[in-house]
Symmetry: C2
Subunit: 328 residues, 2 copies
């Protein structure tokens, strides 16, 4: 089986690649070939036991999606996107990559003809939802995004449902929770602090908390995100029905619950590295974000998280990123 | 004030043109110029007291939208679309006109620059909703279309909300109920019978009823549809908020209630011209259509129908289309 990963150089793409290489198979089938694509050169995993190709290209350029699809991968993971902040700052770039790039891809798949019907797994986002919303957002709540990024994701969800309905491919969209703990360096994303306040103290560094302890948000570990992608690629899609995009399960936790979990897992000394510096701008942005979901459809369709509690999310970070240890 | 009507040759476009000409003003401002565009030549109304231009063009062709927008109409009514059945039969044509045509239009408005900020009234459709849905579809119910036409309309709603949020224009999308009584000849649309069973008997002709009396549907008269368009063009949009598309008020009536109303308004002899010929295909199609709505937001924002009952819908048809009389 040939697997194509678009946006393979990103954090989720790298973790998905590692998992697929470790498994050697996807569902019941051996992986015989993988193609890793991104707009920056994807790293070629060392000692890969599977035939690997890397492609550096821009999906929004004419012909680039068609060139990738011409090899007829049986499964395509479409993770490529301009992130929320950049899509908001550069309107044209966001639409060009996040909307037109996806259209090039799905039209290229369609153009391959009736004998080609790959599984397409698309990473959508909870940014398709905008305030006001209920305390828990259910499966029948409208997509009313308040960013261009969320708009582009919501449009792609509609396109993937329609193209799937017409039989051009077998599409599944998954709306990922905020990934926590996100590995790497602190970044300037407004959501960065949810991970920063766990990752940095565990690494012996101070972290800034710009919001109050009562802020609730919707989290899943990187391990869960990869699990969702694998399940979306292997599940029996006959059970989904025509609504092809699903809010993924996650864990609703307040910042206070995050910190209490950190104290249970790592101790008071680690928690003391969190510095409270309220930032009205970030408080304002975060107040418009979804806090909690009722993901009945995804649960019924077999999507499961790797964690039962925020303590688990922290333990997964220590296991997967820190080799089982941390800075006490 | 200069008004541009896209899709002016259609039934709603012609009725809107007639109403604007009769009023001579839109809201508090005199109409000084009207441009009627369609892919087939729009009829030039005789004896028009307002400067009129007609344009025959295809919005999906590069440059055509820009040429229309270059005259900087203050209000643009965007009624142009490939209808549901054709968009389903010709996938490429539907996306080209209904999605790409609209994108050309909104990008052309944006390209005019910061000093141009027209009101854009977009006719969406209740086809953005797909089964399963509640008995009454409310304002927070998801768009999950089951046709390419509904998908294209739902995508345009998202685009118009995002472009409005970014300040490129002042957009309002209105989801029209099924227009009843639709004037003209019987057509092959699956929804045609809702109008046929009223219009044809009133004209002395037989009409075929392919579904059972218990089928409920969501109706508004052509007069109401024009009223919604005028209100969308003149209302204070500050009250709408970021969710720029609204399900319009209408009247939920079963076929049995339609027929009872026809008997009250026109008598038993007219009703006797309805022939019951159940058609399993049409029964199947219609079973997936919305039946009833809770249009709280639209009502609160001042959208009102011209009718209180299905009797009124029939009377409006007799007044507006039949000169006050019918075939007894």
């Amino acid at each position: 089986m040939h697997i194509l990963i678009l946006g393979a150089a990103g954090m989720v793409g790298r973790k998905l690649t590692d998992r697929l290489l470790a498994d050697g198979r996807l569902g019941s089938r051996d992986i015989t070939r993988m193609t890793l694509q991104d707009v920056v050169a994807p790293a070629r995993p060392p000692h890969a036991s599977i035939a690997m190709s890397t492609v550096t290209s821009d999906l929004a350029e004419p012909g680039q999606a068609a060139a990738l699809v011409a090899h007829r991968p049986e499964v395509i993971f479409h993770l490529a996107a301009i992130v929320s902040g950049e899509a908001e700052a550069d309107f044209d770039k966001g639409y060009r990559i996040n909307l037109d790039g996806t259209r090039h891809l799905i039209d290229a798949i369609r153009a391959e003809g009736d004998d080609y019907h790959p599984r397409l797994v698309f990473t959508s986002s909870i940014a398709v939802f905008g305030v006001p919303f209920p305390e828990k957002i259910g499966d029948e709540f409208l997509s009313a995004p308040l960013t261009s990024y969320g708009t582009q994701k919501a449009i792609c969800e509609l396109l993937i449902a329609d193209y799937t309905r017409k039989g051009f491919f077998d599409g599944v969209g998954i709306r990922l929770p905020t990934i926590c703990v996100r590995p790497g360096k602190p970044n300037k994303a407004a959501s960065g602090f949810f991970s920063n306040i766990i990752r940095e103290p565990l690494a012996g560094q101070e972290a800034v908390l710009p919001v109050g302890d009562d802020v609730m948000h919707w989290h899943a570990s990187p391990r869960s995100a990869v699990g969702f992608l694998i399940h979306a690629a292997t599940m029996d899609t006959a059970a989904i029905g025509p609504r092809r995009s699903l809010s993924m399960p996650g864990l609703a936790a307040t910042v206070g619950e995050q910190i209490a979990a950190l104290q249970r897992v790592a101790g008071k000394g680690v928690v003391a590295r969190i510095k409270r510096e309220p930032d009205p701008t970030i408080i304002g942005i975060v107040s418009g974000w979804p806090r909690n979901f009722a993901t009945d459809r995804a649960l019924k369709l077999g999507f499961t998280t790797a964690e039962q509690s925020f303590d688990d999310i922290i333990r997964i970070h220590i296991e997967d990123e820190l080799g089982g240890t941390f800075a006490r």
